[in-house]
């Protein structure tokens, strides 16, 4: 292995900073024991970190030392009651060791079973909660979708109404239904026509409103009206002088029924 490369990899620094994985730690310790260069490098890194942390020293309050020693006097470090980290290859007879381990294992099993049951119950509750939250989320997502599509439609409509290229034609209610109202946006240059129904009596079954453009005194069908709000695109028309809406049989008529004209507006 290339020692210089290993040294310059940054692994040793991470080791000293305590940021390396257990696998890396083992590796570093193995190499440090084998290669004096690596051991020396580790030493230097430790010194640098030591210098840095020493610079950050803050003296603890003076009474703390006594407190600590009080605690420690109750707990001598050589006592057999204290958990001491031992290496596994002690000379203790195998039988004792294995019975000790079996007790430990049984305890561990009991504890882990307890945890499993506890977390099982908890997780069931959480599952129900998560389901509820998921439903709420879906509902929210749906309403956001609806709102943003409405919003897009409104912005679109607003852009047309604000566009100076479009002429806004108010269609006012006639004798048959005086408070009826509709609006046409017409662009003479590119001939596009939009209509919005503000107020019209609901059409009887089998009947539909039809929009007409009056071109040189003659009615030209612009298509059937949708009753939903917002601007709806109709057929293109050139040289219109007026727009009107009549009630016709569903699907529309080739000529308007002049007795059922609801709104009209001239340009």
């Amino acid at each position: 292995m290339n020692i210089q490369e290993y040294i310059s990899s940054g692994i040793l620094e991470s080791y000293v900073l305590g940021n390396s994985t257990p696998k890396e730690m083992k590796e570093v310790e193995k190499y440090a024991a084998t290669y004096p260069e690596i051991k020396a490098e580790l030493n230097e890194i430790e010194k640098a970190i030591q210098a840095y942390t020493t610079k950050h020293s803050i003296a603890p309050p003076t009474n703390l030392k006594d407190k600590i020693f009080e605690k420690i006097s109750d707990k001598p470090n050589s006592s057999a009651n204290e958990p001491i980290i031992r290496s596994l290859n002690t000379n203790t007879p195998l039988a004792t060791a294995s019975s000790y381990w079996s007790v430990a294992a049984t305890l561990l099993l009991l504890i882990s079973t307890g945890f499993a049951v506890y977390f099982g119950v908890k997780s069931n509750k959480l599952d129900g909660y998560m389901d509820d939250m998921a439903k709420v989320n879906i509902a929210l997502a749906d309403s956001i979708k609806a709102i943003s599509s409405n919003m897009a439609q409104m912005q679109n409509d607003l852009a047309i109404m604000k566009d100076p290229m479009y002429k806004i034609v108010d269609l006012k209610g006639l004798k048959i239904a005086p408070d009826s109202k509709a609006m046409v946006c017409w662009c003479p240059t590119d001939k596009t026509v939009y209509v919005e129904v503000d107020k019209l009596p609901a059409p009887p079954k089998g009947m539909q409103y039809q929009l007409w453009a009056i071109v040189d005194g003659k009615p030209v069908s612009e298509g059937m009206l949708a009753m939903s709000s917002g601007l709806h695109k109709m057929s293109d028309v050139e040289n219109a002088q007026a727009f009107a809406v009549t009630l016709e049989k569903a699907g529309g008529s080739p000529t308007p029924n002049m007795n059922a004209m609801y709104v009209m507006g001239t340009i």
């Binding site: 024991a33 230097e44 610079k55």
Partner: protein
């Protein structure tokens, strides 16, 4: 606990392993400020930091038998115990909530720290040292070492690739070594 005796590192470890409390007194006198400094960097309140320091000395006392000098210097072992205990104490409580509060309170924390630095003469040296270090190096070392970030967390927080974190650690410590060597030759 007036332990005036001077120990080499090896003698100190042996004395501690044999249960000699005066050796622990020596250890406290010589290392508690460094350990407390590290803990204070991680734990925000002085009160909690004092609890952690107590816990750290109890751990050192109990676990000195597991210290293996072939794996590193005693100092590194001590600092790592302090660091890990401090980080654990922060993670015990709702860690996420804590870190949110920490973000908001960052400015307050830094004022407290400035106050603390004013109390300790060693920090005059620290200022000089820090001024010689590239800010991005210092930031990285502090995140990794004092604030208990993993390399992955540091990469995310500082918005740099993990590979850069690894090479930057190396450069940062090289620079720290240079500064440190320069300082000791000056003395």
């Amino acid at each position: 606990m007036t332990a005036k005796a001077k120990y080499t590192e090896e003698e100190l470890v042996n004395a501690l392993k044999s249960g000699d409390q005066s050796a622990l007194g020596f250890l406290y006198d010589n290392y508690s400020a460094a350990l407390f400094g590290v803990i204070m960097r991680i734990v925000e309140s002085q009160e909690n930091a004092e609890d952690v320091l107590q816990e750290v000395f109890v751990k050192i006392w109990r676990n000195i038998s597991s210290y293996d000098k072939s794996k590193g210097k005693l100092y590194t072992w001590l600092i790592n115990i302090a660091r890990n205990s401090a980080i654990d104490s922060m993670r015990v409580k709702d860690y996420k909530l804590k870190s949110q509060i920490r973000n908001i309170d960052n400015s307050v924390g830094s004022i407290n720290r400035q106050y603390n630095t004013a109390q300790h003469p060693d920090h005059i040296g620290l200022k000089a040292l820090v001024e010689k270090m590239k800010p991005e190096y210092k930031l990285l070392i502090d995140k990794l070492y004092f604030e208990g970030y993993t390399q992955e967390e540091a990469a995310e927080e500082l918005n740099i690739p993990l590979g850069t974190v690894k090479t930057r650690i190396r450069s940062a410590i090289s620079q720290l070594r240079e500064v440190f060597i320069g300082e000791t030759t000056l003395k």
